[in-house]
Symmetry: D2
């Protein structure tokens, strides 16, 4: 059994890691840290875990994380970069679910995240944990930067088009909609049910932190710089991201075939039949990205619809998928949940 530590277990990605790992046949959570809640039973804070997780939160000091095989950071941005080095030196593998190791260009990272990077020397060996793009490198990684939720939905939706070189890379549009759990388990006015409920709005149009991450990923797929307009929206649902992607075709091609072929071997990417409209609830609670590709009215505009559960394929589930790869397990191990519908 793989011994798993979780740093920061009181947020939504933390409790989602606990939910998924509770039924993982080859991994066992041995420590969950929270300075603030140290001593409290995890299942007291999250009654949904009663009978499934019999652990108390501990301080990082008590947790003996260096005795773990792997540590997940389910912390705010800027924590893992301070603590990863010591763990890596102790032979512990690390997956950061925050943004600390996602951007290769330190200056770019520091601009968007408004802090100094504490471990730029680790960036070189950090692997961006999108298995559908980087599977081989993830297998050998010691340190994985787990992708953001929007970046996962957008990159999986554009990957076949960019690899095939069939779209104009200078004008790509990603119109994205997210449920409120994407904002984290934080007491903020804008996330109240009385504010975000029965309401719809865009935010961050001038610039969102996931923009440089997506741009870096698309550039690596395209082999050239891309021009991307990314507009995130907040929609009144709890879980789920829907990315609607627009690009101009530069070559005629069998779009449906292109997507099906690219993802034929992928267990967590599901290309729907031509003409489909994936729903966020069709992946609720599961580590699946469902895609549909359209060419409305026969024009030269391609439209890709991409849905994920932001807490699973967009966070905790993808992290476990990465762990499975790093430890040579079946990639689906512990990730066979059937989506909850309705």
């Amino acid at each position: 059994m793989i011994k798993v530590g979780i740093v920061g277990g009181t947020g939504y990605t933390g409790v989602e890691l606990l939910r998924l790992l509770a039924s993982h046949p080859q991994a066992r959570v041995t420590a969950v840290t929270s300075r603030k809640e140290a001593g409290m039973q995890v299942a007291e804070m999250f009654p949904s875990l009663r009978g499934h997780i019999d652990l108390a939160f501990s301080t990082p000091e008590q947790a003996k994380l260096s005795a773990c095989d792997i540590v997940f950071f389910a912390t705010p941005n800027g924590i893992a970069m301070h603590e990863a080095r010591e763990l890596l030196q102790a032979g512990v593998r690390v997956i950061d679910l925050a943004a600390d190791f996602r951007i290769r260009d330190v200056a770019e990272w520091e601009k968007w995240y408004a802090m100094q990077h504490a471990a730029p020397e680790l960036l070189e060996d950090a692997v961006y944990g999108l298995p559908e793009l980087n599977r081989a490198r993830i297998r050998d990684a010691k340190l994985v930067a787990n992708p953001g939720c929007y970046p996962t939905a957008v990159q999986l939706g554009l990957l076949p088009l960019l690899e095939a070189g069939v779209i104009d890379c200078s004008h790509i549009i990603a119109d994205c909609k997210s449920g409120v759990s994407g904002a984290g388990r934080k007491a903020e006015l804008g996330s109240l049910l009385a504010e975000a409920g029965d309401n719809f709005k865009a935010y961050g149009v001038a610039g969102h932190r996931h923009l440089p991450e997506i741009r870096q990923g698309l550039r690596s797929m395209a082999g050239e710089a891309v021009g991307l307009t990314f507009v995130p929206h907040l929609t009144p649902l709890i879980r789920g991201i829907h990315a609607t992607l627009y690009a101009r075709l530069t070559k005629d091609c069998d779009l449906q075939g292109l997507f099906e072929t690219r993802y034929a071997q992928e267990q967590f990417v599901d290309v729907l039949p031509a003409g489909s409209h994936p729903e966020t609830r069709s992946v609720r609670g599961a580590n699946t990205c469902r895609l549909a590709v359209h060419r409305p009215q026969g024009s030269d505009t391609v439209v890709v619809l991409s849905v994920i559960d932001n807490l699973v394929k967009g966070a905790a589930g993808q992290a476990i998928q990465n762990m499975n790869l790093m430890f040579g397990l079946d990639e689906k191990s512990g990730l066979n949940q059937v989506p909850l519908l309705p």
Copy 2:
């Protein structure tokens, strides 16, 4: 007092007309028809109207619509075209909230609405009821085709750009999100709370009936054919439309100034300060369209955010605005509701 008749008072646009007209100082509803519910008190079906509307549904025969000054059709598509002629001949003005008179090209209309048009001869004199575009013609109109909800949000968002000729008209994208009341008060599986709640999806990507209507409007603003990709989405809110519009700038210009100038005299279009993100709830229950214009990251892509309440500015409120114009009243008469927030 203007005597108002409403044909089809049991749907959402019907009850919304009743809500708004209940406090209109210069109009009084004298008849509401519903074959199915004839004899039932309107306020028995809609208890929200108890104390405000003291009328029973009547059959069209009982209703003596020809004694009204104006008749609103809050009916499904394909009804008004059968009944408008007779009313017009009797000197009654008509506003159709459905689609029968929106498209000038009969063949196009018949293709999208899959039925034969029953009154093509009326199309010539029918006026498309978007006051911000057609105010003068509406004043003199006998028959007004009230715009669709998506078309209202999209056209108001693009109007300044198209009139000023500053965007590439061949590739415009309208990514639109609607609350479920847009589907009407109809018992359909896809509109159930257990289906549409906590869920987000696109629909009709291959082609939606509002596409030709929007295209016709944009063409008239631009003076040339436009290439439009229109993707509607269903979002789990009750009222509200959010249109996110993308186009490529062909000329540098002061976008904020352009919008503010164009709408300076408009009482129902509110251009928000630069950098804003309008929320659908900020117009809930009111006849207002709020707009914001962005140029993210200084690129050549302009992004317009446009919100309306689909039942008010997208339907019943706009119909009353048109009525006010047709009868020489203050355009705001009866339309001064403050949005309900939260």
Copy 3:
């Protein structure tokens, strides 16, 4: 025009006062205070008020509240008791929408609100602002304690039964359900859409601050002590309270007639026909309480269903109703909103 001041204009009761007063024909808001937001336009914080309220938040010092005719406290508990005396001495009438003057027994108040009362000498003349019970006294009041939201729904539901003396007062049950706006515009984890959405729970079963307020009111109606079990629940809607009330009949009587007679002259209490089930949305945005009374299966248990909009009849609307009474205006002045449905 009555000059109105609002202390604490950034919460939900504050913005609701602004919404309703914006169209009050005999009152005008001249000052809205917020220490934290002083200087900011009210409509910048609440874009729904753009075009309706042209005022900036001011500090209490700048606000010159003593020049107002009436001041509403839309503040947390424990504020009005410090500031009311000075205003009253300056001849300004005061309505507190919080709890400072609701409980006549100081010791009881101090126990439930966990602070020392700063103005016990004002309690004698403070009038509990439930017009259906206290209309005459409110007309002459200088200081009105506006009832809580739960207490309004429960007391209006039980009033006819208690006045008529037809139920066993020793075992009354009030099972109440509230939308989340009842918790106020405060950044709290439990009120997040991701926590309170798609979820239902009871809270405060051991004791809720509205319990002594309701008990005091019921006692005064019954003329004897009452035994009350009050269980509040949080339900995933934004506005609305539904109280389901249970009591044992001690005398046979015409329940429907009893309710209709008691409320025949009341403009804001609507007794529905026998067999009805009032919906919270039927009063959304309006100052109405709708009631239905049942005697299921002919047993000796009476069930009353009572709905209000917690922000209107349960707070700001009732406060304006009280203001109307205090200034000799038509009780409905400014309160004729039609509920928003759907």
Copy 4:
């Protein structure tokens, strides 16, 4: 592997059976019938099942249900009573998730369900499938009547009190709140998001079909007739039932200890610590009932809070629990899902 047939696979209990059985280690669904959808892939109708269920709907004739070991009826009321006899005679066990075999008194059943019972002779041997009450009889049953959702939540909440004989049975109140999936996957106006969303109401106060079922169960626990007032409410959530139960204590007792002792061996009933308030989301997707027992303000009224997922412990999950018992499997087999939170 147990061969499972499902009659009526297109409703919410049907798709929930499929979700849960997809990962049951000792059972395999071999047939799913739907006359209307025969020939369509199950996963085409429910994309959430793509990759988990590789079956098409079949007609009852094609389905060869008599070759199954067990058949679940996930049909409307009145279907199973026509088809169960033939299956039982073929040696197939039957679990009806509808109401056909729940009420022992045929006349009572016919009154509430407004049809003639087609198989009264089967009632004698039908076992009411509430394992916490009837485990031994379920093990030997050929025909199980799976309890309704409200009855499950109410009976589990009252069982310890009635068995211990500590409450007044003549006046019990069950104030119940249900999510909309309880109404089934049917196109009905009242279940629309635009109708049931942001709304709360009671329904069926005069009498609901679950009343006789609950009354029958409580009577068997109490050993005497009970007086029950049952008021169901519709709340805007998708899954979940919250029952708030009130009764008068006739003997002093350790309520917390009583509940903990009664359910100490039960794997699907979780008694929360004293003072708790169970949330519906804490059981979302899982076969668990969570309970808390209160005695507010030290009065003689006991309040029990009981939550279940209406589609799992209130329907499909309990049915599988019953199947496990009937086939001598571990009662938890295939039912170890961790609730989905948030």
